[in-house]
């Protein structure tokens, strides 16, 4: 999986591309979250548009990212969930935990 980090105003956006699965994508996501958190990001939006597959390890990393951000007083939200990612978050009721937005613009504006 590739992670691209960019800024939109004071919102840090992580564009994820590929598979968030055990052994590679999950580690890449963990490292990227720790990096932006260590740089002091307070508003983080994860753009999931190009995520092709996610497994329980990837879901676990999203949950860890959420709790890491929350514990540091930051906000972490999700945008552009592919249908199958929505499904997999829904069946474990995690869709109720995350703030999810249909577009990047909606996600960015939700922080203000």
């Amino acid at each position: 999986m590739n992670v691209n980090v960019r800024q939109s105003g004071d919102v840090t956006i992580l564009d994820l591309k590929g598979r968030i699965t055990i052994g590679s994508g999950d580690v890449a996501l963990r490292n990227a979250i720790h990096e932006v958190m260590n740089k002091g990001a307070q508003k983080v939006l994860i753009n999931m548009a190009d995520v092709s597959t996610i497994d329980s390890s990837g879901i676990g990393e999203l949950v860890s990212a959420y709790t890491t951000a929350t514990n540091r007083g930051a906000k972490l939200k999700l945008a552009n969930l592919p249908a199958k990612v929505t499904d997999i978050l829904t069946i474990t009721q995690l869709i109720t935990v995350f703030d999810v937005y249909d577009s990047e613009a909606e996600g960015v504006s939700s922080f203000s």
Binding site: T21, I22, G23, S24, T53, D55, S56, S57, I59, G60, E61, V63, S64, Y66, T67, K84, I88, I91, T92, Q93, L94, V97
Partner: protein
Amino acid sequence: MPEEYRFHLAIGSRFENIELVQVVLRDCLERLGMEEDTRHWVDVAVREALANAIKHGNEQNPSKQVHVDLAVEEDELVIRVEDEGGGFDPAHLGDPLAPENLLRPNGRGIFYMKSFMDTIQYGSGPGGGTLVTLRKRIPGAKTDSSQDQEEGTE
């Protein structure tokens, strides 16, 4: 038994080897005529079984293997994943939907397997490792008897 759908693979306990199984599995599911959505969820369930076998069963010891068998039995796709670990008791699993577990980073793999397959069954393999059997009904699949009848009319 439609032998063209049957395969056996033995992989070393490395996560990257999951992709090797996925390539063969996807090809097989496509040839079985499964719909794209079903193929995706079976793919995810098998991925979870393989990840558990590598991580928990074989503890990522690359000299230990994970054995994967796929077969069509009656009208079901049957996938068996067996590790060379010390066995596993699924009775000790927590409920990932319980409020106290909702924000745990792990503990969802078997729940996903159960969600995406018709049945999953845990047992011990001949070597004492964990053997998980995943079953999914194949709509419109040729059964053994219908296959025999077709062959008989040719």
